[in-house]
Structure formats: C-alpha cells, structure tokens
Symmetry: none
Amino acid sequence: MENLYALVKKGRDAKILLIVLDGVGDLPVLEGKTPLELAKTPNLDQLVWHSATGLHIPVDYGITPGSGPGHLGLFGYDPRKIEIGRGILEALGLGLEIRETDVAVRGNFATVKYEGETPIVIDRRAGRISTEENRRLIERISAQIKEIDGVQVILCSGKEHRFSLILRFPYKLSSLAEKINDTDPQALGVPPLTPKGENEEAERVAQIAQKFIERVGVLLKEEARANFVLLRGFSVKPDLPTFYENFALQSLCIAVYPMYKGLARLVGMDVATFEGESISAEIEALKREWDRYDFFFMHIKKTDSYGEDGNFEGKVKVIEEFDSLLPEILELKPDVLAITGDHSTPCVMKSHSWHPVPVLIHSPYCLGNISRRFTERECLKGELGIFPSFKLMPLLLAHANKLTKFGA
Amino acid sequence: MENLYALVKKGRDAKILLIVLDGVGDLPVLEGKTPLELAKTPNLDQLVWHSATGLHIPVDYGITPGSGPGHLGLFGYDPRKIEIGRGILEALGLGLEIRETDVAVRGNFATVKYEGETPIVIDRRAGRISTEENRRLIERISAQIKEIDGVQVILCSGKEHRFSLILRFPYKLSSLAEKINDTDPQALGVPPLTPKGENEEAERVAQIAQKFIERVGVLLKEEARANFVLLRGFSVKPDLPTFYENFALQSLCIAVYPMYKGLARLVGMDVATFEGESISAEIEALKREWDRYDFFFMHIKKTDSYGEDGNFEGKVKVIEEFDSLLPEILELKPDVLAITGDHSTPCVMKSHSWHPVPVLIHSPYCLGNISRRFTERECLKGELGIFPSFKLMPLLLAHANKLTKFGA
C-alpha cells in the first residue's frame, strides 16, 4: 500500500510493542540445532503457541542487510528504496545527532609524506593508531577548528583511526549536497584526492571540506603517524516521511547502542534515556514510559554481538535471559507484541546474512496453535509465511485493529 | 535489487552448479504420487536433507511459461520484463546463431492457388509435408536466394512444414525493426497478407521480406503442395545485459538440445561441445570444463519430453537415472549446487504448466533438516518458501558467499 496512512484509525487506543533481538536468526551450530533451538525458552514456547508466526526477509532474496536497511524494514520502509549514507550511519553509530542542515562524513587518520608541498599517502590508516591517540587528536582539532566560513565543524572519535565529521550549515541542504567524491585514493604513493562537488550545492560543501583537510594538515604536520585525514561517504540526512507521518503512532525507542537510537531518531521516534545496559534496565524503561506512547521499539543487541563473534553459547544465554524476563514484559499486556530480529547473524558465518528472520505476533487475532517454539524451523510452518520485513508494520497495525477496510 | 552487480564480490573463488531437470515438477500420476515421489532416489534423499528447499514460480501465479521465460527466470532475469520473439526462439531451437543485425522469422510452407496473379491460401501448412521434403525445398531456396538487396538470407528446416528464416542486415537493428505483421491470414480462401512495417526501420525489413516471399513464390510455382510461404513472428535479438554483466560469473552451458544452448548464448554464456546426448555425456563435459568456469548451467531434457508425452514411467526412469549419477557430480564438490526445473510439465496435462517447481540449494549456509525428499510436497516445507524464479540467482550468489552487505 503506497498510502497506508489513509487507512490508519487515528487515536491512542492501542499499545504495540516490537522487540528486536538483533541478528537472532541463525543456522545449525550444534547437533543440527540453531541457538534458538538450543536455548531453553519456556516462556517463549508458551507465547509462540498462541501467536502468529513466520519469517521475514529484510531486503530481498539473497541480500544481506546492514543494520540501517534491517531496521528501516522493521520500521515499515522499503529499504531497497532508501539509501542511508555511510557518513550518516557512522555518525549515528557514534551517537551524534543529525539535522537537515548537516553533511556527515567518515574520516580516517592517515600518514602522508610531503614531496615539496604535495602530500603523498603512505598509510591510509595511520598504522591503525589506538583509540586513545585518536581521542587526543580529535580533541586537539576540535579545539582549533570550530567553524569554517560560517559552517560549524563537529568531530567525534571512532575506533582506531576512524572518526566522524559533521559539517553543519546555516541552511537546509538538499540531497544534491552529498554528491562529492571520497578523498581516499585507495592506493599508496599517490596524493589524496581533492573533494569535488558534482553540482553547485555539493561544490560549496566540497570547498569547506577541502579547507578542513588543509587546516588539519597544518595542525598535525608534526605528528609521526596521524598527520593527515582522508574523507569518505559524504552524506546528508535521508528525506523520509516520519514514523508518525506513516502510521500515526507516538513511538519510543528503547535501546542501548547509539546506532539504533540514531536510526530511530532518523524516523522521528523519541529515544528513552535510562541507566544501565541490561535487558532488565530496558524493561524498567519500558514500564516507566508505558503510558506515554503507542508504539515501542525495544532493541536487544547482544544476540548479534555473539553471532558476530561466532559464540553460540553466548547467543543461547542471551536468548535464555530474554526468555526469563519475558513474563515481566507480558505483565504490561501490550495489545500487540511482536518479537523478531532485524536480520540473521549466523554464528558459523560470524556476520550478518540474508537468511529470513523468525517473527511472532501475539494479539487476539491470531490463528495460532501452529509453532511449538520460536525457532527458524517452527516459524517456517506459521501463518505469516515468508514476507518482506517492511510489511511487518501493516501487520502490527492490523493486529492492533488500527486499519480500516480498503475499498467498500 | 535493481543493481545486484554492485554487491557482487568479484573474483573467481567459487563454483556454482545449476542443474535443470526440464519440466521436473508434476502432479499425482499413480496412487496420489508424483513422478518425483514415485522415483527411487537414495542420493537425492540424502542431499536434500542437508539442503535449503522451496518452490519457485517461473513467471507469475497461474502463468505457464515457455522454455524461454522459464530459463530467463533461472538465469536471473525477470521474464515478465523481457520478450523473446517467436522468430528468435524458433531459430534458437534449430541451433541458429542470432546477431544484433538479424531479424528472425518463423516460416510455414503453404499451398496457394492463383486467381489471376493473386495467390489464394488453400492449405496453411501445405498438407504437413514431410520433414525430408521440407529439407529438399529449403536446399533449393537457399541455393537460389542467398541475399536480397544486400541483406543476407539464412534458412533452416524445421519439422514438417516449418522453417526458420533469418534476414541478416549489414547494420545493427533496433527493437523497432520487428514491428511487422504476420503474413499468415489465419483463414483459407483469402490471399496471404503483405508484410507492413509499423515504422520506417520495420518497413525496410518488411520490403525485404515481401521480396523474399515473391521470389519463393516464383521458385516453387510448380510444386504440388508447398508452393508458397507464410511468415510469422518477426523478431530481433532482445537487448539484455549479459549474465556476466549481471553477476560477474564466467558461465558455461552444458545442454544437448539447441533451444537451451541458444537461450544460454542469448545471455552470453559459453556453450560446451561434447559427444553424445546422455546425462553421463553431460557430466563428462562438466568434469572436463570444471576448472575453467565459475557457473555451470546443466540442462537435462528428457524429464520434460516424457511429461509432454504423458509417460510418467519414462519420467520416473530419467529421475532415477539422474539420481544414480548424482554422486559423480557431488565428487566435483561445487560450493553451491542447485537442482530444479525451469517449469512443471505434469504428465496428466501433457504440457508445461504454471505449478511452482521444486528447488534445492546445497551449500554450507543452509538450515536444512526439513525436507526428507526432493519432491513437490517436501520442498513446500522448506526454508526458501515459494519465490519468483528470478530470485534464484541472488540466492545462489549469497550461498556462494559472493554478495557483500547492502548498506551499513
């Protein structure tokens, strides 16, 4: 449906809770069983029997999603049609706020030698300097370069040689503003590339970026390793309808990691602030905010982290921990509860993958009595079938009885 | 994904083998069982248990594909968006090479009587003359009409009254060139239609075609039955990106029948030459070429032929023969092995059908342990679900670990 909003019954009469166990889908790891199959999950077992189940495909058949496309899909956007620039995602991951006036860029510290006035790249990652050294350098640069020609400069250290740069303009930028080449020459023994804009608006941004590069070059001239910066992935905030504009739901994100809070902010969700990083801490935040919102996106990261490490025992433990806390969540009596992942992260691959992701929807309007467990194989039998992730939101609205009839 | 190529990891690091048992999908033929269910297939049974399974839909729900759309789908093209003209398919089926400078046309020998100068069709198929007589006539025409106004004339006998005509121009043709009406009036007692072009480029082709018709009419005037020709299905080579342009895979077709070699050539695959027509001969060719390519399309015809004949015992035997040779194929240790059909050919229908086609994908990244046999009903339980045929290629690339992440 291109215009789902027109079908949405407005009004604050239902609570929808979407719990994302990041990267929860998996492949066999032990005796042919997946982590979800190995985990002891008495509470999920009971819930899933009275739920609609299925699997969702984050982007498309065979396509492995990054966290951005994975979550956009769950938020109801077709991720094939939206590009979140690398610079934006890097900034979101570091917890930076992104505005419509911003160009976000990924930066690398690099090592150059000079031939006359010309810098020549000899290490594109400055020997992978420590994160501590990175922080020291970013502090130095931040103290010296606060703005360039009226454009505010915001910097944030990442890991090792990486950092995030935001150029905040005094006016709103269009999507044209990001059409700028990377300055990383992707080779050694050559000068860095000069940033060039493909159009007038981008060229204004490119010139600020070039001045930034030059000023940093002067500032870091005496550094042994990190004496230059390379910039990549110039990007502006994507022009999206907000979650509210799509679904008329007041929404709250409960997450620990900056990336996911950032993705939620990108679609206009509020973001809960709370102490602690545990699942319990997230549930406490959920309880506290329960009366104030219609839609809750609760993100649990560790399932993915253990998948990326290939640590299936760790993944099983997180699933079991979540299961043990599930009764607390159920006490809130959400009208619709969905539990799923944003993609699969098979331990045997130690990375995200394209495999469809198990999902359950618990509401008064389920067929149910089909899946015995919340696992890949059991959800495969379920009444939801295999469907594109971005169709989950219409399903959740429907299960909340919040969509009117289409046509007479 | 519109731009899958951008995600493909380039490099010759994996072997993907796609085996197509033409028309393998079927319906119950005996005691409620399909040929795949009746066949004894110990090797497939073992393989399928450790594979991802599902069914694919060649074109769309309810749509029965010809061989062209069926294979284009398997090769990763959305067959709803590509039309292969009848003339082109006929020529491919006869083993003719098609170039960008060619218009291919289906021809029928016909019988006319003359009213004054005007030919009147009295048999649109010239009494279904024998294939031998057809060959004699085509030889005569070919000897006399080698070119018309600088356009090369290429002829090839088909079965009975059918032949293929290629008009090879000295310049590349656009898709406009094929907009020409059939000359078959689809009725008796009336003159054949004159070919007319809908546009200037097509009209140039139509005039050559008309001259060809007239010269053949003179040449065959004294023939008792086949004294005229009717032309249908004017068509040019479709303008497709090649398989390599889409997937960066060096690909080889191993097939016996000209049609399938032709379809493979149409997307730029190399075609293996080998002695013999048996499945064993095909496997020998596969072994010989194994080191030279990344992707292998191996086509087995007889499953379809027996389906078209309604001979389910024959179909079962071919499936069992294939099963007995499967270990030889597995010895090659392809990184990804897919076994499927291009469409179903139910014996009870004696024709192609729209029914989804069983498929298995064997790779290290399968859930597996779901389907006990490679059959319609068992594949229905599988982790791939029911999906469009043209999504098989992205899945095969994913299972070969040859697709990078989409988005960060």
